[in-house]
């Protein structure tokens, strides 16, 4: 528990450091939010100045950073330049969609890749092993934006099985409890709506989870092969234990440590991948919002979103550390 608190405290300088870097990066990037917002619409100089003051951009940069830190410490992340509402409201509206997509992709990646990785290691050198290695290779190297569009062309336009974009069709609406449609629809007992939401999830989930799944499979396979060479495995086999028990209980448990590490890092990366996938599939999450915000130089929104990303990343790593202790009691936090 003490260690846990220490780790939490260590988070504070990390967050401040990241805020500083992000603040400087986005503020020093060329581009003027006021000009972008006004585009080529009719405007007077006076109006331009009013807008600049509204956005707080009339102050020098060090004052703006001070103000940002002070407000952030008080839980106020400012107003989105374009939405003209508190940034956190805008982000939180979109967050459940991103969490749902990320979780589904993560679960898909884990539940498919680990068994496949184990099998590939056990059946090392066979056709099965080689073909899964090649598939993983393709999975890692295929760009998401391309793969997503190929899936849309195949399953949405040609076969017409799955929808092109969005989270749900109009006909469904359920009370929002968690904001995650798969759970909300089940809570409301609407099975049709559940399937509707699931259908919308399939293509983005596959596209987003593909690279992670492929990487996890490669890692699992490699570490499984390492473990299977160990003496205690030989011993377990010699004792006459069943194949299943040896592979999945004795070997896999030890082989999972690197997989967990990679899974944690990859889940953080899913958040980044989200930006592209959400844009392709019109998924109303934080990713597509941030992409827009970056192009518009919507400083407060980008700053707040990055802080949330960092927080998720840190939490994922922390979870991975806890999982180590579960799978390998010799590891202590």
């Amino acid at each position: 528990m003490e260690n846990f608190l220490k780790r939490l405290l260590r988070l504070i300088p990390v967050l401040i450091g990241i805020s500083l870097i992000v603040f400087l990066m986005i503020n020093l990037t060329p581009g003027d939010p006021v000009q972008i917002m006004l585009g080529d619409q009719f405007v007077t100089q006076e109006m331009e100045q009013t807008l600049r003051e509204d956005m707080g951009l009339d102050l020098p940069i060090y004052q703006r950073f001070g103000r940002f830190l002070y407000n952030a410490a008080h839980g106020n992340f400012g107003r989105s330049f374009f939405h003209r509402r508190p940034v956190m409201d805008v982000i939180l509206e979109r967050l459940p969609a991103t969490i749902e997509l990320t979780l589904c992709s993560m679960l898909m990646a884990i539940f498919i890749s680990i068994p496949l990785g184990v099998l590939a290691a056990v059946k090392k050198g066979t056709v099965y092993d080689r073909s899964s290695v090649v598939t993983a290779m393709i999975g890692v190297s295929m760009p998401g934006f391309w793969f997503g569009i190929i899936l849309i062309i195949l399953f949405s336009i040609n076969l017409q099985w799955l929808p092109v974009s969005g989270r749900s069709t109009f006909s469904m609406s359920v009370p929002s409890v968690t904001g995650m449609l798969l759970i909300d629809t089940l809570l409301a007992g609407e099975i049709d709506s559940f399937f509707d939401a699931a259908k919308h999830l399939i293509l983005p989930t596959i596209t987003l989870g593909m690279a992670m799944g492929a990487t996890l499979m490669q890692v699992t396979r490699a570490s499984m092969m390492e473990v299977l060479k160990q003496d205690y495995i030989l011993f377990a086999e010699a004792k006459g234990l069943k194949w299943f028990r040896v592979t999945f209980l004795h070997a896999l448990k030890n082989a999972l440590i690197p997989t967990i590490t990679v899974a944690a890092i990859q889940t953080g990366q899913l958040l980044g991948g989200n930006m592209i996938i959400e844009t392709i599939f019109g998924w109303p999450g934080v990713g597509s919002l941030v992409v827009q915000a970056i192009f518009n130089r919507n400083y407060p929104l980008v700053q707040a979103a990055v802080l949330i990303y960092v927080l998720v990343y840190v939490i994922m790593n922390f979870t991975a550390d806890i999982l180590y202790t579960v799978f390998n009691p010799r590891v202590r936090l």
Partner: protein
Amino acid sequence: MKKSVLMGLVFWSLFFFSTNLYAAGDDEILIGYTSDAISMDPANHRERTTETILRNMYDGLVVRNSKMEVVPQLAESWKQIDTLTYDFTLRKGIKFHNGDLLTAEDIKFTFDRIITDGAIDGQTSPRKSLLGSLKEIKILDSHKVRFILGEPWPVFPAFLPWQEVVSKNFASSVGNEGMSTNVNGTGPFKLVEWIRGNRIVMERFDDYYGGAASIKPVGKAKVKRVIWKIIPENASRVAALLSGEVDIINDVPTHSIKQIEKNANTKIMTVNGTRSYFLALNNTRPPFDNIKVRQAFYHAINIDLIIEKILNGNATRISSILSPDAFGHKTNLPEYEYNPQKAKKLLAEAGYADGISVTLDVTSNLKDLAEAFSANLSDVGIKAMVKVWEKSVIGPEWKKPVKTRDIFFTSWGNGSLDPVGIMTPTMRTAGRGNYSGYSNPEVDALIDKAMVEIDRAKRASYYQEVETILNKQIPVVFLWLPKEVYGVSNRLAGWQPKADNQINLHDAYIK
């Protein structure tokens, strides 16, 4: 055991795929739209796409018809009393979605909220400058209001269609926060559901007063429901149209036009846009401070061929900055034909017989076109290196008062179709969009005179004079006006694209 698992799997997947994809009904229209509304408050945003969505739920005092003329909508009529005063008479019996009747109080409230500094929770409406010098709104009686300007601004009516009327009582009860998510307008549709970034669902307002009296058909909306699906990615938006998921998509990429035309259930609809494309040449330093070099550039580029081959014919050539539909547009301006020989001759006369080396700045979406220019230019000995930029970086760079770069391939939109919206910013000295650094006291004087001239004929003649000068001096190479391209399903009827990019669904229905 294994067999039963397999059977189960087959059963469930059959069930899963057998529940049909949502097919749009006969009483609803789906639009695949590039971006979500950023707010439901018509006074607190400055985005054309947001306005397009809101305009289906909020009506204005005036509106533009399909010919882009400004006609009364909530107003019955309006009269200009003098250079500073406009009187508007409201139609009677117009209801807001909540049943309240529209009165002069609502008009005053709407406009006060926009022009008063800090009126929206300390923020000033970003739409304020669209009302120019509007100073005060007076209520004359329950259905008559007077708009008083601070100084003459003859384009006031041309800019007025950009403002939508809100209800005073409603705005006071929900507050500014509430206005950003709730809608109580006088428009043909009511807001039913807004899922951020995903969709906006609207339903017919059955007590609608019918809309602008001069735009037929008058009456309530034809379809019961309108659903805006937000699909930012081009390929996905086209895919949604092709698979029958939506009925209208905006902003069709040029390379998808043929695909949509080939599909049996979809077609392409176009309309002249209001955005003028041009090559801004840096007039403030060599080589483009020399008028002959600028003219040589014009002759060197094969504009007609580029329109035909790269833009698939979806653009109209322009010889000045104004669209052919704009107020004051001068017809029969001489066109600079494609003539490489003449270009070479002009360059030699200007003292650049050995050629010129310049950089052509462009945003990534226009790269193909810039490369075509570059190829044309190299034929006459001009080496134009194409440099691709992010829009939010290069735009502000060229907007700086001191111009340090060579050529900028860009555009300027003009939804007002009045020269004030495009000629003033791009051609007047130090204008916001005067990328080329062009400065001509004669042009400035004419533009300033026209800005406050009330007589329409005189005003138009000033602008035509400017156009003649511009056509001779070529501060920028005037290129074309692209058509706005929409993909539309064949089951849709009663809808026409509009030059101002708005998608008005009042008259649209499903065949």
